[in-house]
């Protein structure tokens, strides 16, 4: 097996597994504050190996190998396998590098937390699971890592389990993802029945899609999309993501921005050979993505908690990625996935710096203001990332985001209008955040003086990773051509994905929209410094509409209550109350019948003689007449 697998492919698994085991069994019992060292070393190994894998696939092509048997029954079998092609290695490289840097950031962020060892163990388990998800060669193994990622997310969101909001958010995240996993598991089962003998391997399924029963393929496609809406936070199952910000900032940065939530997009890109042929599904994906992107973008512009703004922004950008995929522009969608990983991570880490500087888990706009002087490094990184997010040339976001929005314009006028709105809103909300936090401070803001804390720039552990990732947020966009070549390696559909090359002069409409959004936000945050607070007070009803996500959050709360009510009815009043009572009543009936029988034995000899005489008479009659 070692002859078949390159060393880097072995290392991306061996390093995290051994790091977790060493940390848990050897380091933690004796020197808990050093738990993160084996893990950081493992991160370095993984990051280097992932980049080497990408280079290898780029030059020599894909690798797909079955490693070991998993479940076997007769001729039915599932196995573990590795697939390193363009798609997986491109996303893997981003995940590995960004993830490694966020581990370093976490070493600084979680330094004073007494549960730091537990944090790093789960964080690294998540890292391992994500690597496994990206490199799986069949749907069931992908599902294994998909769920493992969800489990890690549960424990990490609920890391500060003393807080009721964190507990609730963790449970919500897990349950909503489980509802999505309903789709994935069912799709995997249907895949095994529609493609017998394939073991749900991609290389066996995709070439045979045309010959499989179309109804099953249709169902599988829609179910996979359902699963992706949960994991990648699209409407209707997106609402767990904003609340997931209860976790520590490294968690939000890595999982809920750069990696875990992109798993759904990755799944759809991976399944494109199957999805492309399902009628109406690609268009559905595109429209759901577009609607989610716009809706989330609007709500992001109304939030005051820094991480919540970024959470809705993530939902919005996932919508953009879904839009790209749905329109058939897989290359653009994946490109945006990669650039988004960089600039969103930077934004989250900067928000983390601000919160950490204030000594709180998260910060709001009210506590910030005028931080440009007190946190210059954070300001620079944030600005770079903001420009990238808004899609301004020559930053990374321009090349990816505008490629998707361009394709949307080409699709049709309606979609084009939505795309324009998305472009405008993205710039609006991120520049609103930039101006509100770093310019000022405004009358309603504290300017970084919260409860005696004077905000200051973060230390080296936290500052350097942010800097390094921001470099990515600037430069990654320049490698669109290389990405296109990479993606074509091992692509399993007919047409390899293309990454459109955006030229600044041709893209002037979207640049203009971005600048318009930035200018509008400048107007409403700096030229009118109190506007952001005033509109909430003047129209509380409108504020309530945005706060409830256009009414979707109360609807979901109602669904949860209905489930609990149904279970109470079934479990308590039906099962214990009615059915069990009935059964126990049969026992009581037997006792009653016995009592009635016992009542015949009165103890009086006369009665007994009477019964005897009657019995004899009956017998006599029977003998005489029968």
């Amino acid at each position: 097996m070692t002859a078949v697998l390159p060393l880097s492919a072995i290392l991306i698994f061996a390093a995290p597994i051994s790091a977790v085991l060493i940390s848990f069994f050897l380091v933690r019992p004796f020197k808990p504050r050093w738990t993160h060292w084996p893990i950081l070393i493992s991160c370095a190994v993984v990051a280097v190996s992932a980049v080497r894998i990408a280079m290898r696939v780029y030059t020599t092509g894909p690798l797909d190998v079955t490693l070991a048997q998993w479940m076997v029954a007769g001729s039915w079998s599932l196995s573990f396998g590795l697939r390193l092609d363009g798609l997986s290695s491109a996303v893997l490289a981003m995940v590995a590098v960004v993830g490694a840097l966020i581990h370093v950031y976490a070493a600084g962020y979680m330094e004073e937390d007494e549960c730091m060892p537990r944090f790093f163990l789960f964080f690294h388990l998540f890292y391992l699971a994500m690597i496994g998800l990206l490199t799986s060669n069949n749907y069931v193994q992908l599902y294994l890592f998909w769920e493992m990622v969800g489990m890690a997310s549960y424990y990490l969101i609920g890391f500060w389990y003393h807080k009721a909001t964190a507990r609730r958010a963790a449970m919500q995240a897990f349950l909503v993802n489980r509802v999505g996993d309903f789709g994935f598991m069912l799709a995997a089962l249907l895949l095994l029945s529609a493609f017998p003998g394939s073991g749900a391997r991609f290389t066996a399924v995709f070439p045979a899609v045309a010959k499989a029963p179309p109804a099953l393929v249709c169902a599988i496609g829609y179910l996979l999309f359902w699963a992706a809406t949960a994991k990648s936070a699209q409407f209707p199952l997106y609402f767990w993501l904003p609340d997931a910000m209860e976790g520590p900032t490294p968690v939000s940065a890595l999982m809920h921005a750069a990696t875990m939530v992109t798993a759904g997009i990755f799944l759809m890109a991976r399944s494109w050979p199957l999805i492309a042929g399902v009628p109406h599904l690609p268009h559905l994906i595109a429209w759901v993505g577009a609607a989610t992107a716009l809706g989330a973008g609007i709500v992001a512009a109304t939030k005051t908690d820094l991480k919540r703004i970024l959470a809705y922004s993530t939902v919005s950008h996932l919508g953009i990625m879904a839009l790209g995929v749905g329109l058939g522009e897989i290359g653009a969608g994946i490109f945006h996935l990669i650039t988004h990983g960089f600039f969103k991570a930077v934004l989250f880490l900067c928000a983390g710096n601000i919160a950490h500087g204030l000594g709180k888990p998260t910060a709001t706009v009210d506590e910030a203001g005028g931080l440009i002087k007190k946190m210059p490094l954070t300001f620079v990184c944030f600005t770079v990332a903001a420009f990238s997010l808004a899609g301004i040339w020559p930053f990374a976001g321009f090349y990816s985001k505008d490629a998707v929005l361009d394709a949307a314009h080409a699709f049709g006028p309606g979609m084009g209008l939505v795309a324009s709105a998305i472009g405008f809103m993205s710039a609006f909300y991120i520049f609103r955040m930039l101006f509100l936090v770093f310019l000022g401070p405004r009358p309603r803001q504290e300017g970084g003086e919260h409860g005696g804390h004077h905000i200051h720039e973060a230390g080296l552990w936290m500052g350097i990773p942010v800097l390094l990732i921001s470099i990515g947020a600037v430069c990654v966009g320049w490698f669109g051509g290389q990405l296109q070549s990479l993606l074509s390696m091992g692509w399993m559909a007919a047409a390899a994905p293309t990454v459109p090359h955006m030229k600044v002069l041709e893209a002037w409409p979207s640049l203009a929209l971005a600048f318009a959004g930035a200018a509008a936000s400048y107007w409403w945050t700096t030229i009118k410094p109190n506007w952001d607070w005033d509109w909430r007070e003047k129209s509380p009803a409108l504020a309530a509409v945005f706060a409830s996500d256009f009414g979707w959050k109360p609807a979901m709360a109602w669904v949860a209550q209905a489930v609990v009510a149904l279970s109470n009815w079934l479990g308590l009043s039906l099962d214990k109350g009615s059915w069990d009572r009935l059964i126990e009543a049969s026992a009581e009936g037997a006792v009653e019948a016995g009592g009635a029988g016992a009542a015949l034995a009165t103890g009086s000899v006369n009665d007994y003689v009477w019964w005897m005489a009657a019995g004899v008479a009956v017998l006599l009659l029977a003998v005489l007449f029968l």
């Binding site: 479940m71 007769g74 493992m148 507990r167 349950l175 095994l192 029945s193 279970s567 099962d575 059915w579």
Partner: protein
């Protein structure tokens, strides 16, 4: 020749039980019983049976063609192994409190009788062992259980006895019909296909289904289970959920389906509905519970629904998966009942809301509980997923709507398990009078849980070992 390894397998614990009673002192009986159960486990694991050369022993005929006949194939072997293993776990877990000699003896009797059920290949012998199983369990619940134990023990006994009587009627009918057809009195399990036809076949299959179904338990016939589990001592629950519930599915695999292969296939929609209702109804009921033991009891009903799904699908992977799930469920639920028992032993409370923030003072307990809960809800990589997935894969091939119900059950499992886990182990600190008593695991308890959890992980990633034993035994039933 009656004397054979198979006879030793069931007779050893029974004789040991009598010896334990004779020892009088609870301490000595305890040590003796644990030693004996370990010997029994080793003996079972090392039995020299091979596929194609199954062990069997037949004794002289008694009356009406009743023979003393035992046999062991892959299915029987894994069930006996599960029985022996969980007996060890149950006995070692009982060392925490003072127990009388009768307690230890009861578990040994239970182990022996269960071995007999899984080994018998004569229908009369099967019935005798089936009924004998009820007796030690009745005493375990009734003498050493919780507050409402007498009611629960009587309810358990009468309810399952009712089912067994129906099963007996079915068996008697089959044997009589065979006698009528061939003129020979024989109670052998083989050779009964085609003996019953028409309405008689329907009636007999229904009787057998009810008889086995009460043990599984199938949903309308399940109400004995929550009470029995809640009132039984922890070790009793481990044996009850871990092994006794499997008797029902074993009965389907060994008797009902082989004798009625075509009728059970024709009735697939009904049987599938039964399994699906088990899964969904069990999950919803578990959601509503506030007593930890009751919650695990209802979750057992849901898990056994998955086993039935696999078995009724009559596909190779479904049968193998459903049978494997019997073992997985034994491990997972055994671990969960073990830990709930530990909680009860320490604090005398079982309610979900009675605790809070136990993570702080009992981190190892939390770790193992998380692990087991994740296995129970079917997290891939652990054992629960393998059995459920294979069963549902079989169902998807045969009746897709059944797979939909099954996956819905998987989704619901998280809904009932996680809130309970969170309330007990995370959450705000509960009344200190309760929580402060819950100290972390002792070395003995940790050892038991490491064994169980490593087993869950191993089976989850590498089930081929067990599957290679189970599949040849069950694939004969596949269509």
């Amino acid at each position: 020749m009656i004397f054979s390894p198979l006879t030793i397998l069931w007779a050893l614990p029974i004789v040991g039980g009598f010896l334990a009673l004779a020892l009088r002192s609870g301490k000595r009986a305890g040590v003796f019983s644990i030693a004996l159960s370990l010997i029994s486990l080793a003996f079972c694991a090392l039995l020299p049976w091979r596929e194609g050369a199954a062990l069997a022993v037949t004794g002289p005929a008694w009356a009406y063609g009743i023979h003393y006949a035992l046999s062991m194939d892959g299915l029987s072997w894994v069930m006996c192994l599960l029985n022996a293993f969980l007996t060890v776990i149950a006995l070692v877990s009982s060392l925490g409190e003072e127990r009388s000699a009768g307690y230890w003896a009861a578990f040994l009797f239970l182990e022996g009788a269960l071995m007999g059920v899984f080994l018998a290949s004569d229908l009369f012998l099967f019935y005798v062992f089936w009924e004998v199983v009820l007796i030690p369990m009745f005493f375990i619940i009734g003498l050493w259980g919780s507050a409402n134990r007498k009611h629960a023990a009587v309810k358990f006994f009468l309810f399952t006895f009712f089912g067994s009587v129906l099963m007996l009627l079915g068996i008697l009918a089959l044997v009589t019909l065979r006698h009528r057809a061939t003129g020979v009195w024989s109670w052998d399990m083989q050779g009964l296909q085609g003996v019953a036809t028409g309405p008689a076949a329907w009636a007999i299959f229904a009787a057998l289904t009810v008889g086995f179904g009460v043990k599984v338990p199938i949903v309308p016939l399940h109400t004995w289970l929550p009470d029995a589990h809640t009132e039984a001592p922890a070790a009793g629950s481990i044996m009850l959920a871990g092994v006794m519930l499997k008797m029902g599915v074993y009965g389907f695999l060994r008797i009902a389906i082989p004798i009625f292969p075509h009728l059970s296939w024709r009735l697939l929609p009904w049987l599938a509905a039964i399994a699906a209702i088990n899964i969904i109804y069990g999950a919803f009921c578990a959601l509503a519970q506030s007593d930890l033991k009751r919650l695990v009891a209802y979750s057992s009903i849901a898990h056994l629904g998955f086993c039935l799904v696999g078995v009724f699908s009559r596909t190779v992977e479904g049968l193998a998966g459903g049978t494997l799930q019997l073992i997985n469920h034994g491990l997972t639920t055994g671990a969960l009942f073990l830990m709930v028992g530990i909680l009860y032993e320490r604090s005398h409370k079982r309610g979900i809301r009675d605790f809070g923030a136990l993570f702080g003072q009992a981190p190892w307990l939390t770790f193992f509980f998380s692990f087991s809960i994740m296995a129970s809800i079917g997290l891939p990589g652990l054992n629960g997923f393998v059995g459920e997935f294979m069963s549902l894969a079989g169902a998807a091939r045969v009746l897709p709507i059944l797979a939909v119900a099954g996956v819905a059950g998987v989704t619901l499992a998280a809904a009932y398990a996680l809130p309970a886990y969170q309330l007990v182990f995370w959450g705000d600190r509960g009344p200190s009078s309760v929580s402060s008593h819950v100290t972390d695991l002792t070395v003995r308890e940790q050892a038991l849980l490491w064994v169980l959890c490593l087993g869950m992980l191993y089976i989850g990633l590498h089930p081929s070992g067990l599957l290679s034993v189970i599949t040849p035994a069950t694939k004969g039933l596949a269509l």
